[in-house]
């Protein structure tokens, strides 16, 4: 079975590192880390992910801008994006996650189990 490719974008290396370790440990996913959002588009073009997990608040280029850049690229426009955000409370999202403007937002901190459930749900669509 082909592993699904996930691009993890966060300016905090320990988070992308642990996302990679946790997701790859399931045997279902291949994860590429990107800690510089300015290089996220190039990384996505090269890696051709099935899903992108991105932080929202990052220096220089925010997660929303990264998603907009992906949508402008014909080869990447259909790639779903999950936003991980530390800038909102779970109460503000109405739960641990919420779909806002067609994007799934998950409030940090989240556990791996919740993240895996969200990834499976999105990739099965």
């Amino acid at each position: 079975m082909t592993k699904k490719r996930i691009l993890a974008i966060d300016d905090e290396p320990s988070i992308t590192r642990l996302l990679k370790l946790n997701l790859e440990q399931t045997g279902l996913y291949e994860v590429r880390e990107e800690n510089f959002s300015t290089q996220a588009l190039d990384a996505a073009r090269e890696f051709k992910p099935d899903l992108v997990i991105s932080d929202v608040m990052m220096p220089e280029v925010g997660g929303g801008e990264v998603a907009a850049l992906l949508r402008e690229d014909p080869a990447l426009r259909r790639v779903p994006v999950i936003f991980l955000t530390a800038a909102v409370r779970k109460e503000e999202l109405g739960g641990p996650e919420a779909v806002i403007a067609g994007r799934l937002y998950i409030a940090k901190p989240l556990d791996v189990k919740s993240l895996l459930a969200a990834i499976e749900r999105i990739l099965s669509k």
């Binding site: 300016d11 905090e12 290396p13 320990s14 988070i15 590192r17 642990l18 996302l19 370790l21 946790n22 440990q25 510089f36 300015t38 290089q39 608040m57 220096p59 220089e60 280029v61 801008e65 907009a68 991980l84 530390a86 800038a87 409370r89 940090k108 901190p109 989240l110 556990d111 791996v112 189990k113």
Partner: protein
């Protein structure tokens, strides 16, 4: 006594039907041939009328006509045809009534025929001419003042001692109707009831003191209220007693309305200013709350990231322990290090937050970054000296000021400098710099209108040799690297952002690392 004779001959016109009287006058030396008095005689009144209008006479002597008595009809005709010509009536001894009547109607004097000699004649002639001259001058003067009175827009009234109107100029017609109908009426009647007693008191006081007072009141005028400004002047009688009052008034309704409107506008402006002030206070309060809210959100963001690392790390290790193969020890060690670092980061953020909030009151004033940096450096001289760190100061003394809380910014700078004192290698060189610069957004940034001008800013720069891991490869563009190693920087960033500033850390190709605290320059500071 020398005889009165004018320099030029007096021209006398005699109207009389009695040749004997003409002869008598000639006996007195009144005849055309003699210098001094030149006599022209006619018995016909109609001819005298024409002569008085066509020739220049100094005096007209009106004697008996065909009825042998001076006729009032003839007098009226002649007086009307030559109003400036003095007329002396020549009457008989028993005709006092006619003389008196004629003098009342405008004759200058009378002489009883046969009752005067040359001297008496000359005296009466001289007096008649002089009186007429004075009368003419008075009439011209009255005419002059009448013209003024009737053509000015000011209101002119003459009142008696009780305030009754004796005269009102035509300007009164606009407010009180025809001036001719006002004579004898009470001048206080049209004054607004609320002002009447006050104005009556001013009137009495002016009469008593003789000193006019300028005063304002309301006049009820044809259904509307007009504002009037008046000044009274007392006219005294022959005994020096106040007799009349001349009151000059002016309708100031338009001026008053303009002033009221101005007052209203001023009051509205004042109210608007107060509302604006209150709104500004509310805005400042809102901004303070918003700034605190942003600050809190920023701190939450900085705390949640290490928490996320910790949660992901725990999940990974738990799964590793449960699985059949598990992860290799090196990976486990790496994860444990991440967990430890994350816990330290969270602690550093909370510690920094506590230190920052130790100062409860903000004192935001204009300060100069060069001074704040010097004072901060002074506080850590000992720590830097112990590590042998050499400090190079490049301060721009002419930098514009920025609005900040000096204690908090010094706290930030001291925290940064102490951090460097701990981490820099012994005997390292630290360059501290202040400068003016421009805030330019990265071209990669979105959501910023292209026409937004670059903003002027002042900055504090801390420059030192960077650890090798932070020097980017030579063929890559210079990215902004946030020094996650420097835990203090997270809170420092939030504090600086609270004052509209920003913190950036850049490594360049020469191996120097610069931490810059940038503060936008506000216009007018």
């Amino acid at each position: 006594m020398p005889e009165y004779l004018p320099a030029t001959p007096l021209q006398l016109l005699l109207v009389d039907s009695d040749p004997d009287f003409v002869a008598h006058l000639r006996d007195l030396g009144v005849e055309s041939a003699k210098p001094g008095l030149v006599l022209t005689w006619t018995a016909d009144t109609a001819e005298a009328v024409i002569m008085s209008q066509t020739r220049a006479f100094d005096v007209l002597l009106l004697g008996a006509d065909a009825t042998s008595r001076p006729s009032m009809t003839a007098f009226a005709q002649l007086h009307k045809s030559a109003p400036n010509l003095p007329i002396i009536l020549l009457t008989s001894a028993d005709d006092d009534d006619t003389s008196l009547l004629a003098v009342r109607e405008g004759a200058e004097d009378h002489l009883v025929k046969g009752g005067f000699d040359r001297r008496e004649l000359l005296r009466v002639l001289r007096h008649a001419i002089e009186r007429k001259r004075i009368e003419s001058r008075l009439r011209r003067s009255e005419e002059f003042f009448r013209l003024i009175s009737e053509n000015v827009t000011d209101l002119i009234a003459v009142l008696d001692r009780d305030g009754r109107r004796l005269y009102n100029n035509p300007a009164y017609e606009q407010s009180l109707g025809p001036a001719s109908g006002l004579a004898g009426t009470d001048s206080f009647h049209e004054i607004h009831p609320e002002d009447r007693a006050r104005i009556q008191a001013v009137f009495r006081e002016t009469l008593a003191s003789g000193q006019g007072q300028r005063t304002e009141y309301r006049l009820l005028s044809q259904g509307s209220v007009r504002y009037i400004e008046s000044l009274g002047n007392v006219v005294r009688d022959e005994q020096g007693q106040p007799d009349k009052m001349v009151v000059i008034s002016r309708d100031i309704t338009e001026r008053r309305q303009a002033m009221d409107q101005l007052q209203l506008t001023l009051s509205q402006l004042q109210q608007a200013h107060e509302e604006l002030h209150a709104a500004q206070d509310r805005l400042v309060q809102t901004e303070k709350i918003e700034a605190l809210s942003t600050f809190a959100a920023g701190i939450a963001h900085e705390v949640r990231n290490p928490l996320q690392t910790i949660l992901l790390g725990i999940d990974f290790l738990r799964e590793s322990l449960r699985g059949p193969t598990g992860s290799d020890p090196a990976t486990q060690q790496l994860v444990l290090t991440d967990l430890e670092n994350a816990a330290r980061k969270a602690d550093a953020v909370i510690q920094g937050l506590l230190e920052f909030t130790a100062y409860r009151h903000q004192e935001i004033q204009v300060h100069h970054l060069s001074e704040l940096l010097e004072q901060s450096l002074h506080a850590v001289t000992a720590e830097l000296g112990q590590r042998g760190i050499r400090v190079q100061l490049e301060l721009d003394s002419g930098l514009p000021g920025v609005r900040v809380d000096a204690r908090k910014i010094k706290h930030v700078l001291i925290k940064l400098l102490l951090g460097l004192a701990e981490r820099l290698p012994t005997a390292a060189t630290l360059t501290l710099r202040t400068c003016q610069t421009t805030l330019v957004r990265s071209p990669a940034s979105r959501g910023v209108p292209p026409d937004r001008p670059a903003q002027a800013a002042v900055c504090v720069e801390l420059e030192h040799a960077a650890p090798a891991s932070l020097v980017p490869p030579a063929d890559l563009p210079l990215p902004t690297l946030v020094r996650k190693e420097d835990l203090d920087l997270m809170v420092v960033k939030k504090v600086v952002e609270l004052y509209g500033g920003m913190v950036e850390t850049q490594a360049d190709k020469t191996g120097l690392l610069r931490t810059r605290l940038l503060f936008r320059l506000e216009p007018g500071v």
